[in-house]
């Protein structure tokens, strides 16, 4: 338990002291969302209708952006090999990384999402549902992202190929994510989203650990 706590503290410290990464992600998220009205025209009725999809696309892209720092720095400086020798199983190390990755790349987006939602003409209940659906769905995005990052960590130009692998896996998250904002049965979609997140977060550390350990030996 103390090792796990130390691992969490290490990851958090690395993520927060690494410069303006968190701010960059939030800016990227808001800018991607805010660029859409320029492309489709500032029609408020249309924007309100497609806003849930825009918010989710922006969140999906912003989560992809932060993936490369999940394993790559540790792989490059050799700490990943040391972490594999640790008393803590590799899957738990990855679980700790996953938690911190979610804290530094998803929570800021969720905090920023009301601003984006207002820009996209969302109001009242839809706004709350947006925040709640992001809160429930982003853990699944982070988990799939961890699998993709683990699979591509030993490839030199893996940063480009990971999004191609992750996107097909993330489609259900996007479906139920936007569904839980717009659809008439939004609570059912929310439950599905929560189930997806629970399942993905429970299984991803093991899949990612298997991928990393088979790439290294």
């Amino acid at each position: 338990m103390t090792i796990l706590r130390a691992m969490l503290a290490r990851e958090l410290r690395l993520a927060l002291r690494g410069g303006g990464d968190v701010l960059t992600l939030v800016l990227f998220f808001v800018i991607v969302g805010a660029i859409v009205p320029f492309a489709v025209g500032p029609d408020r009725a249309l924007l309100a209708r497609i806003a849930p999809g825009i918010v989710w696309i922006a969140a999906f892209l912003a989560m992809l952006l932060g993936l490369d720092r999940l394993f790559r720095p540790d792989h490059d400086d050799g700490s990943l090999i040391l972490l594999r020798q640790s008393e803590l199983p590799l899957s738990m190390v990855i679980a700790a990384k996953l938690i911190v990755h979610w804290l530094v790349s998803a929570v800021p987006l969720i905090i920023a999402s009301p601003f984006l939602a207002v820009l996209l003409s969302m109001e009242g209940e839809a706004l709350w549902r947006t925040i709640l659906s992001l809160l429930l769905g982003t853990p699944a995005l982070a988990a799939f992202g961890a699998i993709g990052a683990a699979v591509t960590v030993s490839i030199r130009r893996g940063g480009l190929i990971a999004p191609i692998l992750i996107a097909p896996l993330s489609i259900p998250v996007l479906i139920f994510g936007t569904g839980s904002i717009t659809a008439t049965q939004s609570s059912a979609a929310m439950l599905f989203l929560a189930a997806l997140s629970l399942m993905a977060v429970a299984l991803a550390p093991f899949a990612a650990a298997l991928a990393i350990s088979s790439a290294e030996d």
Binding site: S154, G158, L165, A167, L169
Partner: protein, 253 residues
Amino acid sequence: MSIETAPKLNWWNRIANPGQFVIWTKPLLWPLVIVTAVLFVVGLYFAFFNSPQDYQMGDTVRIMYVHVPNAWLSQFVYGVMTVSAVGTLVWRHPMADVSMKAAAPLGALFTALALFTGSLWGRPTWGTFWEWDGRMTSTLVLLFIYLGLIALWRAFDDQLRAARVIAVFTLVGAINIPIIKFSVDWWSTLHQPASVFRADGPRMPGSILTPLFVMFFAFTFLFITLQLKAMHTEVKRRRVIGLQRRMAQGDRA
């Protein structure tokens, strides 16, 4: 362990040697080609000349004889890859990762053909080339997974290491297969539900079912033939790479 007490190689271990595998399976290749060709001739004859028109769809129903086998293979090939991935991870069987690599482009091709023939069939009967219906969407996702796996194979330099990593991702991607199979039951939007493999027997008359089954086997044998040939090619490619590497090292020494 002396020679006498060493366990005899069984067929499983023997085909683990790539060279032995090629020697053992090479005689199968030509018979498989002949069987495939015969099945295609018979199947196409039935499909074009000896099966009735549909009372609603007319001649376009004949697209089914190409579409259904391709759609079936798009899932079956992924099944082969999943089994191979287990073989790679659990037994580290050398031929399993060759089979996994050889199957990916074939699966992508069959999936693309299933989508293509499906949209050709959908235009006259449903009035649209494409609809975001459950089964079509999940088949498109399957195509993306195949293409992602091919891209992943090409990105790795070391193919032996690549195999185990890709096996992990293949298993993760296998979640999509049951979604495709049951998508027509879960979201009944446009694509018709299963009508051949049903618990209460197929829902088609024999005159349509016969050519469908013949084409079904024709395409499956086509896959087996191509898969075997692709595996032989992959074994040879690895041998060439190994020789080139040894030659390069020899030059340096």
